[in-house]
């Protein structure tokens, strides 16, 4: 995993710091909300274009597609190292895309717009930073940086119970990541003591010689942070609250992106650094994932708030992702990562749509909704599409990932695969319930009855197109994943 592409122009840094630049502009021009809106839209669009350009230019590439390295905090050997392979590329693309959607869905943000857009942009820097960092302290910095804007997004712009949700979110994730920090420092000292080279570089730290006991403790330290973020049952309790109370853009970011950083942390850091411990933990991960799939589906079925249903469905879907990782083979891993991306798009779309529905009907309660199809045929069609994708209908995005995960899981252990299949059925149950009670049945009182506006079309069409495209033809994405995944599996010391 050595860099073989040296870009003369620091594209990765551009990608990383562009949103922060937008933040500063927003804060400076905070008196004109219109200007802020456009600045943030342009910023996110630019990031998307740059990321797309990077993707196109690196088709067929291998190793690190982009790489940057510079000295940063020298007394501790901390470096500013960024690297992008196929996995991080796809996740950065997803981030860029969903951020555009997040800005567009909050286009009419009335309450303190400048601050709002500024925070969404800070978050983008944090998330992209997590996907690009190859120095553990740099990674940790961005890992924490994601927290602060989300805390404020939930706490200031959230719904009724926002303060509780914001504090709970902050506390859970930070408590988890403090152990990550300790583990990072300890690993660094062990490595430095052995080699005399004190460094936080992922590549260097992988060479550390650890006793099984040390390895397991360090691994648990890393995984605590990641599992809470994913979130894996039983560490998921912060998620429904955070999702439900967050403003639409916050929900999109949470479900679409923040959860992915946990999975990314596992495959990029925890597994390669501690392969033997990871191997031992796989059955436990699989069990937690399976329990999560069923438990979340079961809870999702009795929720009356649409946002809560989707929140629990995220827990279930991420359960599939983790199950795929636990299966530990090429097929399952590709499936997991694909599912992650597709889940980001599908769930992002669902949260966007719930915001639109809430805008029109004034409620997210399933009991108070009904007959939307007759009033808003276009909106309902899109909603149906995203719901069907979420429940894993063949031909739509989520299915493509899920089927690969299931196949991989069968390969690893037929029992896991068998149980997970049943989980798919469960997800059909709660999603269909949402569709049934929101779209069909008697019409209820509505605040507005205009169908989709242009801005809303602009958000939904690309997302819907991707849902279909990735469902029918996921090959290009898998192409990007193939090499990095096989490298990760190999360097993890596995067949």
């Amino acid at each position: 995993m050595t860099p073989d592409v040296a870009t003369p122009f620091p594209l990765l840094s551009l990608l990383l710091w562009l949103p922060l630049g937008g933040t500063l502009l927003c804060l400076l021009l905070r008196h004109s909300s219109n200007l802020c809106r456009w600045i943030s839209l342009l910023t996110t669009l630019t990031v998307l274009v740059v990321a797309l350009g990077m993707a196109v230019s690196s088709i067929g590439g291998s190793g690190w597609l982009f790489y940057e390295d510079a000295a940063w905090i020298e007394p501790f050997g901390i470096r500013y190292t960024l690297g992008m392979d196929g996995i991080s590329l796809l996740l950065v693309l997803l981030t860029a895309l969903l951020q555009v959607a997040a800005i567009l869905i909050s286009w009419r943000q009335k309450q303190r717009p400048a601050l709002f857009y500024a925070l969404v942009l800070v978050m983008e820097t944090g998330i992209i930073g997590v996907f690009l960092s190859l120095d553990l302290i740099l990674f940790y910095l961005f890992w924490e940086l994601m927290l602060i804007p989300m805390f404020f997004l939930i706490g200031v712009w959230g719904h009724e119970n926002r303060v509780y949700a914001a504090v709970k979110f902050f506390f859970f994730t930070l408590a988890g990541s403090l152990f990550l920090l300790l583990a990072i420092i300890w690993l660094y000292l062990l490595h430095g003591g052995q080699t005399g080279d004190y460094s936080f570089a992922l590549d260097a730290l992988r060479q550390t010689v650890l006793t099984p006991g040390q390895e397991m403790i360090l691994y648990i330290g890393f995984m605590l942070a990641f599992i809470v973020k994913v979130p894996l049952f039983p560490f998921h309790t912060w998620l429904p609250d955070a999702h439900t109370e967050a403003p639409p853009a916050g929900s999109v970011d949470l479900a679409g992106l923040l959860l992915k950083t946990g999975v990314y942390g596992m495959i990029r850091f925890a597994f390669p650094l501690f392969p033997a411990a990871a191997q031992k933990s796989l059955p436990f991960l699989a069990i937690l994932a399976l329990v999560g799939i069923f438990y979340a589906a079961w809870i999702a079925y009795v929720q009356t708030d649409m946002k809560r249903v989707i929140a629990y469905s995220s827990v279930a879907h991420l359960g599939f992702v983790i199950l795929g990782l636990a299966a530990w083979n090429q097929l399952a891993w590709e499936g997991s990562l694909l599912l992650m991306i597709n889940h980001g798009i599908t769930t992002g779309g669902l949260f966007v749509m719930i915001a639109m529905i809430q805008d029109r009907s004034g409620t997210r309660e399933l009991g108070k909704l009904g007959g939307l199809w007759t009033v808003f045929p276009n909106l309902s069609a899109f909603f149906l599409l995203f719901c069907l994708s979420s429940l894993g209908l063949p031909g739509l995005a989520n299915f493509a990932g899920e089927i690969l995960v299931l196949l991989g899981a069968f390969k690893a252990d037929p029992l896991w695969g068998g149980m997970a299949v049943a989980g798919v059925v469960f997800s059909a149950a709660y999603m269909l319930r949402v569709v049934q009670s929101a779209l069909w049945g008697e019409s209820k009182k509505l605040a507005r009855n205009d169908d989709l506006a242009v801005r809303e079309w602009l958000i939904l069409v690309p997302l819907a197109a991707l849902v279909v495209l990735l469902g029918v033809y996921p090959a290009p994405v898998l192409e990007f994943l193939r090499e990095p995944v096989s490298l990760l599996l190999e360097t993890g010391g596995m067949p």
């Binding site: 007394p75 805390f151 504090v167 300790l182 420092i185």
Partner: protein, 486 residues
């Protein structure tokens, strides 16, 4: 015992005491000048004292990498002392900047305030460069006596009186302990020189079981621990911090504390090096106790100033973790942390100074509701300081804690580091609560009384710059801290 006259002839080296000498001179000149100013006119004294601090700072920086010893080895101006000197000077500077408008608002425009701060700082610097227990004691007394006066500076206010008196009584008591310790160590070793004690103890076959040495070491430590505000000698802090004028609280929590750490470190690491195992064990318990008590009691506070007092106890605990580590990293970590703490804590108090009403320094959490919207700048500033106090990147609080805990882990104190981290998690609760009130609650008051005083704003801006610089690019200063080990 050498001939006194001989000592005076041979070892007078004004270079070694130049910074504190200059600062004392400034203080005395200012006292004189203030006589000729009409009552209530404090601005010239304020600015002159800032100039004094800057001049002293330049002199200190000039002495970098040029260690000077003098006065029969009683004083040494090495990098270690210089680093702490600069920390204390920064603390004093930030404090003075926020003081003038505050004194006028509270109705005590008394010029003597500034020379007193200068004397305190000089005492602190004296402590940092003392290599003889007597010199350190002298520094401590100069520092303490001025602080007693400053804590009770608002003589018409009951709470300030209480603060001054309490600090004085308990401080005098702890000084007694310390002197007892010095006397015992002198009794065993026959010297009060820091290095001499080390030498004598090393030559003793059974030093670590000699009751005189143990008692001496413990009593001496108590004196320092009291000044640091470490549990179980922390009882004075909340009341004194709450009652003292807010800028003085800010100053007390940073400058003198740093000085006490400096002297404490010098004494333990050099004189009591042979007792490392026992001392480390003692510090381990004290560090955990201090962090835990500070954090858990802070949770229960409704008054922001008092909450910050308890938080400052817990931060003394984090710094003590570096003492436990007893290695280069933990040790330079303390230097770095005290500097970081100076910026973030004084910054937070500066915000409190601005949003306090006349005669009501003591803001409740409710009183801060909606501050972030009514006074955006103050809200953002406070948020930055709070995030730093929590220890989140990219602020200095993170790099500081990182430094300290790296030291503890390097020395193998895994559990201590874990307990420290858990304590950080606890501390989130009360820091976040301030944030919740500032941003998630609707404003109750309109903060119309808040005057954005220029000097205070400058002090806040400097603190923000410090917090962000040390958080994002801590490399150079960390390097300096590592070079400052004696």
């Amino acid at each position: 015992m050498e001939n006194l006259a001989q000592i005076a002839m041979e070892s007078v080296n004004f270079q070694a005491i130049m910074p504190s000498l200059v600062l004392c001179c400034f203080g005395m000149v200012l006292l004189l000048v203030s006589v000729f100013l009409e009552r209530g006119r404090t601005a010239p004294i304020c600015w002159l004292s800032i100039i004094g601090l800057v001049v002293t700072g330049i002199i200190s920086i000039n002495g970098w990498n040029d260690p000077q010893a003098g006065f029969a080895g009683g004083v040494v101006l090495d990098n270690f002392a210089t680093f702490f000197n600069l920390t204390c000077l920064i603390a004093a500077g930030l404090t003075i900047l926020m003081s003038d408008s505050y004194l006028h608002r509270e109705g005590y425009p008394v010029a003597e305030y500034y020379p007193l701060i200068l004397f305190t700082t000089a005492g602190a610097m004296w402590m940092a460069s003392g290599t003889d227990l007597m010199t350190i004691f002298l520094g401590l007394e100069v520092l303490s006596v001025s602080l007693y006066v400053l804590a009770g500076f608002f003589r018409g206010q009951l709470r300030s009186n209480e603060a001054g008196l309490k600090y004085f009584f308990l401080g005098a008591f702890s000084t007694g302990f310390m002197l007892y310790g010095v006397a015992l160590l002198y009794g065993v070793t026959g010297t009060t020189k820091v290095a001499g004690i080390a030498e004598a103890i090393r030559l003793m076959p059974d030093a670590s079981s000699n009751p005189m040495i143990i008692a001496g070491a413990i009593l001496l430590s108590i004196g320092f621990l009291f000044k640091i505000g470490a549990a179980p000698f922390h009882m004075w802090t909340p009341d004194v911090y709450q009652g003292a004028p807010t800028p003085i609280t800010a100053f007390m929590s940073a400058g003198p504390k740093a000085a006490a750490f400096a002297a404490f470190m010098r004494v333990t690491y050099i004189s009591l090096d042979s007792l490392q195992v026992d001392m480390s064990a003692m510090f381990w318990v004290l560090a955990v106790l201090t962090m835990t008590i500070g954090n858990f009691v802070a949770i229960a506070q409704k008054d922001v100033k008092r909450m910050l007092a308890f938080s400052s106890i817990s931060h003394a605990g984090y710094a003590l973790v570096g003492m436990v580590a007893w290695n280069e990293v933990g040790f330079s970590g303390i230097l770095f942390y005290m500097l970081v703490y100076t910026f973030m804590n004084i910054g937070a108090f500066a915000v409190l100074v601005l949003i306090g009403k006349q005669g009501e320094d003591n803001l409740t959490l409710d009183g801060m509701a909606g501050l972030g919207y009514k006074r955006p700048f103050l809200g953002v500033a406070m948020a930055i300081f709070l995030f730093s106090l929590m220890g989140l990147p990219p602020t200095a609080g993170f790099t500081g804690k990182f430094f300290i805990f790296a030291g503890a882990l390097k020395a193998g104190y895994v559990w201590l580091a874990i307990l420290g981290v858990l304590n950080s998690a606890v501390s989130l609760y009360y820091y976040l609560r301030v944030m919740v009130y500032m941003y998630f609650r609707d404003p109750v008051e309109d903060f119309s009384w808040v005057k954005m005083e220029m000097a205070t704003i400058v002090s806040i801006l400097i603190a923000i710059a410090g917090v962000l610089y040390l958080g994002v690019l801590p490399g150079p200063v960390m390097e300096l801290a590592k070079l400052s080990i004696f």
